[in-house]
Amino acid sequence: MNKEYDSIILSTAYRYFIPFIMIYGVYVLMNGEYSPGGGFQAGALLGIAIVLDKLVWGEKAILNISGATALILAGIGTFIYALIGVLTMVFKGNYLAYGVFPLAMTEVERHALGILGIEIGVTICVMATIIVIFDSLTRREE
């Protein structure tokens, strides 16, 4: 936002923090079946990484996703979730009954893949929503 947040301690600390937060977010998403975590927490972690980047660097942020782009991303996340649900109905199953996908793997693997798919949708949606809220809180009105 402003130059007054830009101290050498903040910029150095966040330069090292942000990649770790983002990798931890992806780990939480991928490992969510075996450990605490899942789509929502992963999305919140990715969102807070981008929000911290925008908070420290302002307009010069590397991950400077604008509010309008984030709104589109939120829609895409919801669309992924709904698309997987409707695809299961296309293959003559119930909504989100992942076992009907015509893939050469066992039923359990198909379930794991389907759940990973909707979790990716939830992650994108939550991340984008956090960015939108942050953007509407800090946007300057001309």
Binding site: M1, P36, G37, G38, F40, Q41, A44, L45, G47, I48, V51, L52, L55, I130, I133, F134, L137, T138
Partner: protein, 81 residues
């Protein structure tokens, strides 16, 4: 018994932190106390055996604190005293 005592102490600290955060005049101090409130809630969830909820609470506590501080900067009055 020890666990019950721990949860009791955490709950009392949560109540005290929340009440002070409500009645303080300094909004920045309120935000920091809310952050502490959320941190105590994380410990309560952990001691009750719900690490998933505790993880969510920790992450959302950080997100909410960031949002509050951004909104406070937007309001241009950190302290109403």
């Amino acid at each position: 018994m020890g666990m019950l005592l721990l949860i009791f102490v955490l709950l009392v600290s949560m109540a005290v932190t929340g009440l002070i955060a409500l009645f303080l005049k300094d909004l920045m101090a309120s935000i920091i106390l809310f952050s502490a409130f959320s941190f105590l809630a994380v410990f309560i969830y952990l001691s009750l055996g719900a690490p998933d909820v505790a993880f969510t609470e920790a992450v959302i506590g950080v997100v909410a604190t960031t949002f509050f501080i951004s909104a406070l900067r937007r309001m241009r009055r950190g302290c109403s005293r």
